[in-house]
Each structure stands twice: as structure tokens, then as C-alpha cells.
Amino acid sequence: MIEINNISKSFGKLKVLNNVNLSCKKGECIALIGPNGCGKTTLIKSILGMVIPTEGTIKFKEEYISKNYEYRQHIGYMPQIGRYPDNMTIGQILEMIKEIRRSDVQLDEDLLHQFKLKDLFNKRMSTLSGGTTQKVSATLAFLFNPDVLILDEPTAGLDPLASEILKEKIISEKQKGKLILITSHLLSELDDLITQIIFMQEGVVQFHKTIEDLKSSTGEEKISKAIANILKGRNNE
């Protein structure tokens, strides 16, 4: 569904992405992991067209995304730090996005109800806590029933209850055969969610493996241990 070919991106002298090649298909649930500043968010933003790669191409559903914008209606994006117009209320933001998109898909308001955002509809975005802002971002990402979900650190800042709700939601969407791309540092959280792992370091994709592969090659049961194992192996080399 998403084909990334030889993407590179530099900000001035800093090379953030270095010749990244990836391919993601329907029904996969992929974890994008790596240390801080390894280019995860830049990669995600390139897929969304918010960052324009210096080199390389990205295809979404067999179509190149440069100069294209309509493909974004199939993507639900939850940013790491959601930034919203300060003087608008939660209700106004949701209404505005609905009105601008005016899409005829069945709206998915599960998260809206489960997070009880309706009670906060008249609160201005500037008065919201980080966690509540994350809830709004999550609601927006799932609202239009997109085929692809891109979640950048989805559970960071959410309380255990909310993050459990979100996890349930992700699992139920995964079962509908959607492509889900998650970045996270909390490997233990991902255990029961993901089917594949992409590990990045300094702008380079170190490996892209399925969970079974990873577990069998390292002989570990937990993802976090398996990753640690691989990293240790690399350091010893």
C-alpha cells in the first residue's frame, strides 16, 4: 500500500533520512522504533507530504504522492504533539474538519464517546492538558475511518485508562484489515499489537522483520528482549 523508494532528507548539513526503502501492505501492523532523533517522525511526515524528501519517491496505493493530496483522505494521522488553533474549542475543531472534508464516509465516533470528549466540547484548545490534546488527536485520526493509520507516539501522555481504550481501538481496526504504523518507545506496550518491526538508527533502516522472524532468530519471547538482544549483538561485532 505504501512504497518508499530511496528516500533521503537533509535539514541543512544534517542528514535525517538516508536512503530509506520500505514497503508496507494492507493488514499489517508495523512498529517503527529507534532512538530519539533517528528520523521516525521525519519518515512519517514524508509519507504525509508535510516534509518534502530531498531525494526518492513515495507511492501510496500505486500512485506517487508528490503533487498529490487526495491520497491523504485514506490516512488518519495522530501527531506526536498535536498543535491546534488556540482560540478554537474541541467542538469547533471537530466541526471544522468535518465541514472542510465533507466526506460521505460513515464517521467513526467510538473514541469520541469513550474518551467522553463531548463533555469538554466547549473547552478551548489552549486550556487543555497534554493528555486531552492527545485524545483529540486520536479521535481525529480515527474519525473518517481511514484505510491507513499513522500514529506517532500514540500513548505518550495518556493515562492508563485512556491508553487501554486506544489500544483496544487499534486492535479492532487492525482486525478490519487496515494498515497501521505506530512509533513508540514503550516496547512492552506493543507486544500484543504488532506484526512487524522496523528498526531505524541515524536515518537508516537497520531491519524490517516480522515478529515471528525476530523471535525465532533471537530465541526470545518478548519483543523488548529480542530487540535488546539484536542491539547487543551489533555492538559486539
Binding site: K45, Y69, E70, R72, Y77, P79, Y84, N87, I97, I100
Partner: protein, 255 residues
């Protein structure tokens, strides 16, 4: 009208600054016309006030507004909306609301007291100056990510066009007074939208007789309908070019 423009216009109209701007313009205009006994003198006074305040408010307010819209832009960018459409909508939204407040503040008194050719031209010039400086605001806010720098650039540009440019011209005139540079001066005015606007109006107010030989040359050019056409065309370029450059930059910007 597209939906994004609607949201932006509503958001700006809610902003108290635009309301205050409208009220100040309207106090100025009504008082100028009721103080002067003939409307020509009124227009002349009003011209100077307009050419100082309108560019300043347009450029500073727009620059700040664009910087403050960064969240809004980011939010829209993850939606299936064309990048250039976001930038265009922001431009139209800002221009429309500032034009509206200029029309309510200054346009209505002008139409009431001086519904002549010059009055109409003054209104048009005011519209153009507003749009030109909104366009310049777009350029200065895309040049840098730093809000303080961006607003600084905007104010510098205003200062240059409103005050410094005239000083430079005067300096040139004195330095080169031995040479026949009057015709060249007509060309030089094209580089400053405010001067262009001022000359356009002055020449139609019959005060150009006081401007000496240069005034006569100006009258020869800007007094004709061809000259007026060229002048408005140049003002139009002043709207298009800065905005177009900013649009190209915005399309390549990383957010």
C-alpha cells in the same frame, strides 16, 4: 467562497484588532471630512493618513496572523487539502477582511463626501495598498521561521516604503540635479507602491501645479488614461509577485 476562507474570515472578524482598526479609520475619515470645508482638501489630508496607517496595519497584522496560524496550517496539511489551497485561502481570508474594514472605515465616508472620480480612485488605491501589503506580509513571514524576525522584516519593509524610500529619492534628486532625470523618476516610483499610490491621487487633485517641472512630467505620464492603466498594473504586480514567491516557498516548506 470556499470553506477554509470562511473559517479564516470568521476567525479574523472575531479578532478585536480588526474591529479597532475599522473604528479608528472611520473616526479619522469622518472627522477629516467634517473639519475641512471642501472635499478635495479632505481627500488630501485623508490620503496622507491612509498611506501611513493602512500599509502598517495590513503588513503587521497579516504577518502576526500568518505566524499564529501555523497550528491551523499544520492541522489542515494532514487532511486531504492541497497545499497551495491553504496558502491561497489564508491570503484571501486576510485580504477580504482587511478590505472590508477599509471599506467600512474609509470607503463609506469617501463615497458620502466625495463621490467623484478622485474619490473612487482613492478607494481603489486603498484597496490595492491593503492587498499589496498583505502580500508583502506573506513574503516576510515565509522568509524565516522565527516570528520576531518575521515581524521585524515586515516593519522594516513598511519603514522603507513609507519613509526611507522618499528620503533616498530626495537624496538622488539633489545629487543628480544637474542631469535631466525627471523622466527616470517616473520609472523609479514603480519600485514603491506607496509612492505610486500617492502620485496617482495627487495628480488628480490639481495640486500637481505646485510640484514644479517634475510634477509636469508626472502629469504627462500619470495624467493620461494609459498612465493610470500602467500604474494600476504595476500595483497589481506588487500584489502578485511577493505572494507568488511566498507560494513557491510554501509549497517546498517542511512542516
Amino acid at each position: 467562497m470556499n470553506r477554509i476562507i470562511k473559517f479564516i474570515v470568521l476567525d479574523i472578524l472575531k479578532n478585536k484588532i480588526v474591529l479597532v482598526y475599522t473604528i479608528i479609520l472611520s473616526i479619522l475619515s469622518w472627522s477629516v471630512f467634517s473639519l475641512e470645508d471642501n472635499s478635495t482638501k479632505g481627500l488630501l489630508t485623508l490620503l496622507n493618513v491612509i498611506l501611513l496607517t493602512v500599509p502598517l496595519v495590513s503588513v503587521v497584522f497579516s504577518t502576526i496572523y500568518i505566524y499564529n496560524s501555523s497550528e491551523f496550517i499544520e492541522l489542515l496539511l494532514s487532511q486531504p487539502i492541497k497545499r497551495s489551497k491553504i496558502w491561497w485561502s489564508l491570503f484571501f481570508g486576510l485580504t477580504l477582511s482587511l478590505l472590508l474594514s477599509f471599506f467600512i472605515g474609509t470607503g463609506i465616508p469617501i463615497l458620502f463626501y466625495a463621490p467623484s472620480d478622485v474619490g473612487i480612485m482613492m478607494l481603489l488605491v486603498g484597496f490595492f495598498i491593503t492587498t499589496v501589503f498583505v502580500s508583502i506580509a506573506f513574503l516576510s513571514s515565509i522568509l524565516t521561521r522565527d516570528k520576531a524576525k518575521g515581524i521585524g522584516i515586515a516593519i522594516m519593509l513598511w519603514l522603507f516604503f513609507a519613509l526611507l524610500f522618499d528620503g533616498l529619492i530626495l537624496f538622488l534628486l539633489f545629487q543628480l540635479s544637474e542631469y535631466p532625470i525627471e523622466k527616470m523618476m517616473v520609472g523609479v516610483t514603480a519600485f514603491n507602491p506607496i509612492d505610486l499610490a500617492r502620485i496617482l491621487i495627487l495628480l488628480h487633485l490639481d495640486v500637481s501645479a505646485m510640484m514644479g517641472y517634475t510634477g509636469a512630467i508626472f502629469k504627462d505620464f500619470f495624467g493620461t488614461s494609459f498612465g493610470i492603466f500602467v500604474a494600476f498594473f504595476i500595483l497589481f504586480l506588487w500584489v502578485i509577485i511577493p505572494f507568488w514567491i511566498s507560494l513557491l516557498k510554501f509549497n517546498r516548506k517542511d512542516l
